[in-house]
Amino acid sequence: MAGNIWIVAEAWRGQVSEITFELLALGREVAGQAGAPLEAVLLGSNARELAQKLGAADSVLYADNAALADPVPENFATALAQLIKEKQPAAVLVPLTNLSVDVGVVLAAQLGVPFLNYCKDLKAEGGNLTATCVLYGGKMEAAVTASAKPAIIGILPGVRPVEQGRSDKAATVTDVAVTLAAPKVHFKRYLESEAGDVDITQKDFLVAVGRGIQTKDNLDLAEDLAATLGGAVCGSRPVIDQGWLGLSRQVGKSGMNVKPKLYVMLGISGAPEHVEGMKSSQCIIAVNTDAAAPIFNVAHYGVVGDALEITPALTEKIKAKKG
């Protein structure tokens, strides 16, 4: 395959994001199949030491520019577009995080190529890239060939283990220059996460409610179960959007990443954006009325049934058992 395989490294607030290493691990495999070098691209301001951590790549391009200090996607996209035109990579792998997705879509728009979205796996075969993409909230998967030059591909979190993309090897870093004009959009400030009543990332027991819980009043069922277990209630996006739970209780892409001992899911379908925040939980029990809900491919134990009936029954049994 002509051209390098690129991964766009994500650094945020002074740290390399974990997903960067996941992309390095995937990129390593794809580059091997394509017989092409793996190159990481890091954009930032005074962030050169972070480039050193990307030793899993054959080489690292580092662009330093004051305009890359703040998360302004347009600047990052413009910088990448310049480098792409100069270096002609075969493919550009972009992390599908809320931070980087805008870089990917603006970049693709600037270059006039599609942005291949929701990619959960990627391989190079016969001079082509074939991506496995997750569609319809996890209910279907598509094998997709991307022949655009370059192919801009959004990679879902969790594509490979983080450790697989870390390396003790010092990276070979090349400094590259980018020219950035004043962006249209101005970053003003960060708004920190609201000081929550509980820190769900610290809880051993979580009861997670989704849209299937149906009403705010039904949250009491989950609260009772959580109290009985000695844990807390958290939720999926629709529950937060409805205002039934605060932002600090959201699990997933925009919310928290949790790894409790027990994660009980009541009426959550298992969309990729939710799953990325809870898939490392030690024991996952999902209750869902839909036997085909994607969450049953993730959970350790599943119940096809009505959460409104099962939850109170479970609470009573646990109470009785605990005495």
Binding site: V105, Y136, S147, K261, H300
Partner: protein, 257 residues
């Protein structure tokens, strides 16, 4: 303050989805569609801004079965005008949808000028891109995605964008701009059926013919299938009581209670 809201429908995943005879796309024979949830939030955000600042909210969609219900519901909620692009297939790649919307916005008299174009940040069928950024690119406007709050002042929108872990960022975006809405500041409003019926009687949906656009060819679906499951949950069966008993047992066995 005038706002254009771009909406599309997506397959309703509450229904069972099947792969069609070509093995590459959804079986559309029994497909039920609903408005893209994020577009519904984009509509709500537009209506909230209208409540505050006045102005007009115009809806633009691609024609699809049941789209009139979506549009009349939106009109009943307070949108002023609804336009659908006719002569298109009901399932579109996002790239093609972008071209259809972009050309229609540029060429249909009376759709522009607006202060903002709002659309959902993404949809569950967005395989080959997201809508908002390329439309902003075509128009030469500013763009921000994953937006959860919008405040409008003269020539500037102050928007909140969501990152991870509850951290958000505040941005100043010059208008006109295209925003990809993640969530409106309030849950989408409810509208009684009677009001929707009234809108059906008193309001009309305008139509425009689809512009001729080339379909994108660099992203090609070779095969579509239900996810191959690497692991499947061990299923627990029985009445709620029995299920509760079994879960209790396994929690005890794992030392969790």
């Amino acid at each position: 303050m005038d706002i254009l809201v771009l909406m599309k429908v997506v397959p309703d995943v509450v229904e069972e989805l099947e792969v069609g005879p070509d093995g590459k796309s959804l079986d559309t024979s029994f497909l039920r569609t609903i408005i893209n949830e994020r577009d519904d939030h984009a509509l709500e955000q537009a209506l909230l801004l209208k409540d505050k600042h006045g102005g007009k909210v115009t809806l633009l969609t691609l024609d699809a079965p049941d789209i009139d219900d979506v549009l009349f519901t939106a009109l009943a909620k307070g949108a002023d005008r609804a336009v659908k692009i006719c002569g298109v297939e009901s399932v579109q790649s996002t790239q093609t949808a972008v071209k259809l919307f972009g050309e229609t916005i540029a060429k249909t008299p009376g759709l522009l000028p607006v202060d903002l174009i709002l659309t959902g940040v993404s949809a569950i069928d967005d395989l080959d891109g997201l809508m908002a950024a390329p439309i902003a690119q075509q128009l030469g406007w500013a763009y921000t995605g994953v937006v959860t709050q919008v405040a409008l002042a003269d020539k500037t929108a102050t928007v909140i964008k969501e990152f991870a872990g509850g951290v958000r960022g505040e941005y100043e975006v010059p208008t006109p701009a295209v925003l990809g809405i993640q969530a409106a500041e309030k849950p989408p409003r409810y509208v009684p059926v009677a009001k929707v019926r009234a809108a059906m009687k008193s309001m009309t949906i305008e139509t425009v013919d689809a512009p001729a656009v080339e379909a994108a060819t660099t992203v090609e679906v070779q095969q579509m299938a239900k996810p191959q499951v690497t692991g499947h949950a061990e299923m627990i069966e029985g009445s709620p009581e029995e299920v509760a008993d079994k879960i209790c047992e396994l929690l005890a066995k794992r030392g969790l209670i």
